[in-house]
Symmetry: C2
Subunit: 182 residues, 2 copies
Amino acid sequence: MENRKTQIIDLALKLIREKGYVAISYDDLSKILGVTKASIHYHFEKKEDLGVAVTERVLQNLQDFSSFITNSNLTVEEKIKNFYERQIVLCDGGICPVSSLQSDYESLPEKIRQNVEEISQLEITIFKNILKVTLENRGAKEIESLAFAIVSCIKGAIQYERVLGKQILTQAMNEIYRLLKG
Amino acid sequence: MENRKTQIIDLALKLIREKGYVAISYDDLSKILGVTKASIHYHFEKKEDLGVAVTERVLQNLQDFSSFITNSNLTVEEKIKNFYERQIVLCDGGICPVSSLQSDYESLPEKIRQNVEEISQLEITIFKNILKVTLENRGAKEIESLAFAIVSCIKGAIQYERVLGKQILTQAMNEIYRLLKG
DNA sequence: GTCTATATCAAGATAGAC
DNA sequence: GTCTATCTTGATATAGAC
């Protein structure tokens, strides 16, 4: 059942958002899906294999989003709004899966680390591409700094929001928009 | 030996920065310290007790820092620089212990959660206090939004920096300084 | 492709000797 | 205060039946 495989990846991604890669177990997954642990092991022999599949999925989604943004005619503000509204949907009450995997970085097998690196870099690159279109008068270095600031801000805000339960991301983004006008 | 207790908290804090609360074990701690697991259990009967001690330490340090900043005559820029340079020292190649604990939030016992909440809130409050002194012309709401943005940016940047290994925090902060002038 | 059963190992935790 | 020894539980993983 190829569908079961997808279902496992979906669930693993959800639990990584909530608890992190280290904290989830095949027991968690199997109980929620109503199957046995052995059944999960059939689809993903080792936990590492599942982690690789999840990060490949995240990377693929991000690449699709990158293409969508590149080929769109949206304004910079609209593109940024697209990015962080997508973040909210992806996180769905937890934290960003990328932040979660970054936190667990030291415990990740090499293959998963490489994917997390690639994902992190692509997020920065997407923002650099968004910014350079309309901020042509600013240097490449400044555009890179801005991309770092905006992505960092979005990701940090989501983590505080889960713990403190305020509209931290939305409010922080209002300030970021002002950065682009200055 | 009261010193051993402190030593365990120090080490736990270091490992939380590197791997996170969930990922560390009494076995890790005991091997590094050259004692037995049982010895760690003597000082902290349950892992939760150790987590509480660590977060109380983090909170205490932050409260001290808050007093220092409040009673200083530094400029806003200097205070912010103090904050994020302190972050770099605290993280020491890992991620911020607060970010680490935020990521593991779902897996934390209630008592530790409360401490993480308090710490997260105090970080925001410190920034609000820093900003309101010189940004009197801006409303309380805007000051809060700015505090959210700056703290989020610092914390997010540290996570990307560990994975991508660039000067992401410093560069992001350069852009944040511009926010304060606009 | 999914199951039962089981192996193996590590983690959190406790009892009791020294 | 630290140790040895041990317990329990849960996690990763495998073998082999259906």
